[in-house]
């Protein structure tokens, strides 16, 4: 289990793989942005998508194809919470809300989290939409 050092600077690659015009290197994401990207990655990863580690990810993608009902929203809340608690040890969930939007094929995820041992809430908002 990885340890979390709050003095540590988080630095991750940007999966867009864009090139920084000044350094001619990959863009990197640091600290808050790095963790936000990681959370989005985690939420949008399907179980069984990662080779040899089917447990990583959530069931969000498959739930998006279920009939829209309160039960689906509860299941989605649970799968996102469980996944973050298990695979993203850097953060603590402060609040998680999944709301319907005007578009019936779209859901809005409103996630408030903070780094562990740092009481500074950060908000991540992302929309979940079926791609087909």
């Amino acid at each position: 289990m990885p340890t979390v050092n709050t003095n540590r600077k988080f630095r991750d690659i940007d999966l867009s793989f864009r090139i920084n015009p000044f350094t001619k290197d990959l863009y990197t994401k640091t600290d808050e942005e790095a963790v936000k990207t990681a959370l989005k990655n985690l939420i949008l990863t399907k179980n069984f998508e990662r080779k040899f580690h089917p447990e990583i990810g959530t069931q969000v993608q498959s739930l998006l194809f279920e009939n829209n009902s309160p039960a689906v929203l509860i299941a989605m809340d649970r799968t996102i919470r469980e996944s973050i608690e298990r695979f993203e040890p850097r953060v603590r969930i402060v609040d998680l809300q999944i709301n319907e939007t005007q578009d019936p094929n779209e859901l809005l995820v409103y996630l408030v989290f903070s780094f562990k041992n740092v009481d500074n809430p950060i908000t991540l908002t992302t929309t979940l939409t079926r791609v087909r």
Binding site: P2, R8, K9, F10, R11, D12, I13, D14, L15, T28, K29, A34, T37, A38, L39, N41, L42, T45, R50, K51, F52, H53, I56, F87, E88, P89, R90
Partner: protein, 611 residues
């Protein structure tokens, strides 16, 4: 760099190595370039997964490629066949069953001076409700006997006749001619080469068997199984084996076989029907086979190829040593479960100039005469030394009767005693099938006892009484002598036979043999009345308890009781373990209880609750 391991093959270990690398990877300011490799959700972790997967994939591929390079570890048939080719072994194809028939053709119009049975004349027969076609591979010409034409012992082979032809595009062995059918019996392949479409001159090519004897004019073809599992033929280079030239037409004739499905037991009558007319004459509608169809076999499996190929190489296709004979028979006749070969000079009595061969088939107890002559003529005759004569000896079966008492804890299982009895029966039968029933395989008491204990966790212990049994079939009403080898030391006072009829002083008595403990000399065997147990004939034979040799100088059996066809003589061994020898096979006694002839069950299981 010395800290990085490169020998890992598992996905997780490879990924850990990559993380270890990144944990030490710093920029010019001695800062970590990336730090999120530890977190599964990070983008870097996705990249590490990809790299680890790619490395794992390549490692697995390398491992599989290495496996396929060796005969022991190859799993794909094409690899196994290719590796066997290095050892000079061509996998045995499916083999057709062969039968022999004799029939008479009558009322042939114009009574010609000879009558021809054309090759591939169809004969049909019914096996298990299904119709199968048999063909004669060569034409036969006979002369009349009076007004009748008698075809004697015509060998017919099961299969469907097919042909395939190719136009030669390239000379030499690089041009392969594939036979596009599965289940081809390669022993029926006939290859002819025609000069061209216009020139019908043909030459027959035969399968190359002796490479050293080939020259530029040798009309031979070579045979191999290709990567797709089909057989293919090819010709010589021109200097070793004649090579067809472009424009020639190669015609391949062969049979598609149903293999062992068409083997028919010799105990039943098999009838054939001629499928076409012979010279316009009349033939019986049902022709009784003089020899039933036998010898059908499946093609070599991958495991069989792995087993046979090295042995084929070690014998170099020659029968010189005893192992050569074993290897050749096992390679060419897969229906045999166990082979034992020894020199005649070590036989008892010695038979100089002979090789003694004993075969145990998978089905039944002995190999029939037809098969023996087929093995001798087709497999051994061209490969053995000139002055050595093979002689077949039927296996000497020593039956082992088991009376087992097992104790079990009723609180440790929900199985009934009947379930446990069936389980133990299965264990014993499996032990005999897998560990015994072959030459030179001895019965080990403790091993069986251990297996019985393991049949179910509730069984707390077992003990078995072992009895040996020999079976002799004595022709009735003929005075003859017998020597019966138990080949194990026996306990005195335990020898007893099943009942049979014996002519004594003009009356037919039902008697049995038993060792006579009333006699002063040890090992005397006498005849007793089956119903009164009175001695009928004292000292009819002698038993040597140490060697287990029962000698009966002369006996005249009048008949057998009920449906019995043999006399079964049983005795208890002195040792727990039972020895086998080069011509002896230990087999589980399958005797059923029959009080009328004094037979006890060969396998008795008693299951008791443990107190």
């Amino acid at each position: 760099m010395s800290n990085y391991r490169i020998t890992e093959l598992d996905f997780d270990n490879i990924k850990t190595n990559l993380k270890r690398f990144l944990s030490n990877y710093r920029d010019g300011n001695n800062d970590l370039v990336f730090s999120d490799y530890d977190f599964d959700a990070s983008g870097l972790s996705v990249l590490l997964d990809l790299l680890a997967y790619n490395t794992h994939y390549n490692a697995y591929l390398a491992n599989m490629v290495a496996n396929e390079m060796f005969l022991d570890s190859a799993v794909k048939r094409q690899s196994t066949v290719s590796l066997a080719k290095h050892l000079g072994y061509t996998p045995l194809s499916v083999r057709s069953a062969k039968a022999k028939i004799s029939f008479t053709v009558k009322n042939v119009p114009n009574s010609p001076g000879s009558l021809t049975l054309g090759r591939y004349t169809p004969f049909t027969t019914e096996i298990n409700g299904q119709s199968y076609t048999f063909l004669n591979l060569n034409s036969i010409i006979i002369k009349p006997e009076g007004q009748e034409y008698v075809f004697n012992d015509v060998e017919i082979v099961e299969g469907e006749y097919l042909t395939y032809s190719y136009r030669v595009e390239l000379s030499g062995p690089s041009q392969k001619y594939s036979i596009p059918n599965k289940n081809v019996d390669t022993s029926t392949i006939k290859v002819t080469v025609r000069n061209s479409l216009q020139d019908t001159t043909t030459a027959t090519f035969t399968l190359a068997t002796d490479f050293a004897a080939l020259n530029s004019q040798s009309q031979v073809y070579f045979l191999q199984e290709n990567a797709s599992g089909f057989y293919e033929i090819y010709f010589g280079s021109g200097s070793i084996g004649k090579s067809p030239v472009p424009g020639n037409i190669v015609l391949i004739e062969y049979l598609i076989s149903n293999g062992p499905i068409c083997n028919v037991s010799s105990n039943i009558d098999q009838y054939f029907t001629l499928g076409s007319s012979v010279g316009g004459g009349v033939v019986d509608t049902a022709i009784l086979a003089s020899s039933n169809s036998t010898g059908g076999e499946f093609e070599d499996s991958i495991e069989e190829i792995k087993f046979k190929a090295p042995r084929f190489l070690s014998s170099y296709n020659r029968a010189v040593t005893a192992d050569d004979y074993k290897s050749l028979i096992e390679t060419n006749y897969p229906l045999v479960e166990s082979v034992s070969v020894w020199g005649g000079e070590t036989n008892d009595p010695p038979k100089y100039g002979k090789v003694m061969i004993s075969l145990k088939p998978y089905l039944g107890y002995t190999i029939n005469t037809e098969t023996k002559s087929r093995i001798e003529n087709d497999i051994l005759s061209n490969r053995k030394m000139l002055t050595t004569i093979p002689e077949f000896v039927d296996p000497d079966y020593l039956y082992v009767s088991i009376n087992c008492t097992a104790k079990f804890n009723p609180n440790g299982t929900n199985r009934t005693t009947t379930d446990l009895q069936n389980g133990i029966t299965g264990t014993i039968q499996k032990y005999f099938a897998l560990d015994l029933q072959k030459f030179n395989k001895s019965f080990i008491y403790s091993k069986l006892s251990n297996l019985i204990d393991k049949t179910d966790t509730s069984i707390v212990g077992n003990s078995s009484v072992i009895t040996l049994q020999k079976r002799i079939t004595i022709p009735t009403n003929i005075q003859t002598g017998y020597s019966i080898k138990f080949a194990n030391s026996l306990t005195s006072g335990t020898l007893k036979s099943t009942a049979f009829e014996y002519l004594y002083n003009g009356s037919i008595l039902t008697v049995y043999m038993q060792d006579d403990l009333t006699k002063s000399s040890d090992g005397v065997v006498s005849l007793y009345d089956f119903y009164t147990n009175a001695v009928i004939y004292q000292n009819i034979g002698n038993i040597n308890y140490k060697t287990g040799l029962l000698t009966i100088p002369k006996i005249n059996v009048f008949g057998y009781l009920q449906n019995a066809t043999d006399i079964r003589i049983s005795s208890k061994p002195t040792e727990f373990d039972i020895n086998s020898s080069r011509d002896t096979i230990l087999i589980l006694d399958d005797t059923k209880v029959d009080s009328l002839s004094g037979r006890n069950s060969g396998l008795t299981i008693l299951v008791l609750e443990s107190i």
